[in-house]
Amino acid sequence: MKSNSWKPWALLAPSLSAVFLLLIIPVCFVIVYSFWLRAPSGADIPAFQMGNYAKFFEDFFYPKILIRTIRIAFETVILCVVMGYIPAYYFYLSQSRYKQVFLLLIMLPFWVSFIIRTMSWINIMGDTGLINHFLLKIGLIETPISMLYNEFTVLMGLIMYLLPFMVLNIYVSLEGIDKSLLEAARCMGCTEWQAFREVTLPLSLPGVSAGCLLVFVLTAGTYLPPMILGGPGNDMIANLIFKRVIGTLDWPFGSAISVILLSLLFVIVWTYNRYLGINQIFKSFQGN
């Protein structure tokens, strides 16, 4: 019998080629670059040395920014779960014929450039922005409240960017729950809260955890909200990479920081897979 074993590979070839060309090769380049040296003019000198990695850990400056990034990423995840579960649950229970419109509204922010969305907060929260203008107008304050360029505004920018990812992940997971299970729980004497706690919440956790992973990874790698809405001292690790690569033309050191970030994210994803299972992400899209 003629073997058909090549067929799956033939079908997978376009995707595998894309992953190879657009992900594997660039990552390999970054890894190789991380061992190179940089000339004062900005030229890169091929070498194999660990100086760039040693530099990252030689004092607490760089690790401190990495720790800050992880902390902000966790804070963003927690806030997104809290703020994202409620609308997702509402959409799940909603019998409204406008449900699809509501879901579409979740996607609405993606139709506007991320930079424009982030910068719009300046017009809302700035010293001459909408909020201050309103508070001054009604006489509640005499001088504008300084609200921008701090960690709070960075968090706000991140949530604005990432909340839709969380809502959609949770919603897809909730949508897969058989509603008759809730009815069964209620028939067996559960209150509405107990039914939610014992049935809905556990079954929606794959979606929550998938959303958490996605939000965490995206937060760790983003640099625009800290750059536009952050003040002195609010830089995250991606800003550091941006400055090393773009600002000082130090590609080798920028690559080393990227590899460190990549390794850390790999450990987090591995841990997630070990204890929750990466297949939970797919489950959340398939229903439970």
Binding site: R38, P40, S41, G42, A43, F61, I65, I122, G126, D127, T128, G129, S146, L148, Y149, M227, G231, P232, G233, D235, L240, K243, V245, I246, G247, T248, L249, D250, W251
Partner: protein
């Protein structure tokens, strides 16, 4: 299959432009060109690109009001006069542009002309091998340019030129006149940037260690081109950081912060301040002793079609074009006022020198600053981040 040559493509393109060839046939020919490119590969690979490149040139500049002035007063008239399209790109700072140039393939090959700031950048590009050698006989308008602006370039590229000087400006201090009087600003001078009453209302350019160190040197009573007490400079920058509201990243952000009253004082590019003043914003400009002055150049990158580049540079140095651009971007042109009659508006601009000799202007010494760039940039980044 017929092999496509540059000449054939030019003929076909001309025929298409003149209406002698319809679009379907033109596209068919382009398809053939693509196929032959794929078949014959590298020896003819450049033909198609060259054919198209001859009809356009890429120019990268500072964006915002500066790019608007270039576009309106130089590129559009140039395209009308020659049919050559100028594709203009933008960058926020010099390093980010250099990164893109480095990353292009072949390095620098995707870029043609850049509006570079200061001689130290000219030196960096030359050191990295991106310099072209211009044929000065093809740029007759170069004779009107200040000799004092050409001389430092020749010294770096051993008598040749890779760029033409185009304008000069200053990084002085901008302040909000509603909150700081002119008398107070002049009394404080550089120390306005360390004025404790302005805590939470100060800004600075986050992307440039030079500007920040320059003013810290002045604040601590040192010469910016020969700082003898670096500890004092770093301490001053640390102290200033505690007073900062925002380190801005681009000219557009600088203008937005000042115009919206988010910050009351900051280092600022003279042309951007002039633009804000013309829009009616209550912004004053201070240029204390030792103000950071700089010259800007139109740098031609290696691999560029020099015929086209030289044609554009000569057009841009034509007094009518250079004056219009200068008035548009609010920076004095490189034209020597002793050779070319400039307008009253230009004569009132900060950094304008009626003698054309630029004596007494303080520019960054390229050797001094470039030699310490790596160490100082990193130190500055650390201080800015709170170290």
């Amino acid at each position: 299959m017929a092999i496509v040559t540059k000449e054939k493509l030019d003929r076909v393109y001309d025929a298409y432009k003149n209406g002698r060839l319809n679009r379907r046939h033109f596209l068919k020919y382009l398809g053939l060109a693509g196929a032959s490119l794929g078949l014959v590969g590298v020896p003819f690979g450049g033909a198609v690109r060259d054919a198209w490149a001859a009809k356009s040139i890429r120019f990268d500049g500072w964006g915002g009001s500066v790019s608007d002035a270039f576009r309106e007063h130089a590129f559009k008239p140039f395209t009308t006069a020659t049919g050559i399209k100028v594709i203009d790109g933008e960058f926020g700072d010099m390093n980010s542009y250099l990164t893109r140039v480095k990353a292009s393939y072949p390095p620098g090959g995707e870029f043609n002309i850049a509006h570079l700031s200061a001689v130290f950048d000219y030196a960096r590009y030359a050191d990295l091998g991106f310099a072209s050698v211009l044929d000065e006989s093809k740029i007759p308008n170069l004779k009107n340019v200040m000799v004092s602006m050409i001389k430092p370039l020749r010294e770096i590229t051993k008598g040749t030129l890779s760029a033409v000087p185009y304008d000069l400006g200053q990084t002085g201090i901008a302040y909000n006149t509603k909150h700081i009087s002119k008398a107070k600003a002049e009394e404080l001078g550089t120390s306005l940037l360390w004025y404790k009453s302005l805590k939470g209302k100060l800004g600075s350019w986050g992307g440039d260690f030079r500007t920040n160190m320059w003013y810290a040197a002045l604040h601590t009573g040192q010469s910016p081109n020969n700082m003898t007490d670096l500890k004092a400079v770093w301490a001053a920058l640390r102290e200033q950081r505690g007073l900062m509201k925002k380190y801005w990243n681009s000219g557009a952000e600088l203008m937005s912060l000042l115009a919206n009253g988010e910050i009351y004082a900051t280092v600022a590019w003279s042309g951007r301040v002039a633009a804000l003043q013309q829009e009616g914003h209550p912004i004053g400009y201070l240029s204390p002793k030792g103000t950071y002055s700089w010259m800007e150049y139109l740098f031609v990158l290696k691999g560029t079609d020099l015929e086209v580049a030289q044609k554009l540079l000569n057009f841009m140095l034509e007094p009518a074009a250079a004056i219009a651009v200068a008035e548009g971007q609010n920076y004095p042109p490189s034209l020597d006022p002793s050779k070319v009659e400039l307008t009253e508006k230009i004569k009132k601009m900060p950094a304008f020198d009626a003698t054309g000799k630029l004596d007494g202007y303080l520019f960054a010494n390229p050797e001094y600053w470039n030699a310490n760039q790596v160490e100082w940039t990193e130190k500055w980044d650390r201080i800015k981040a709170g170290s």
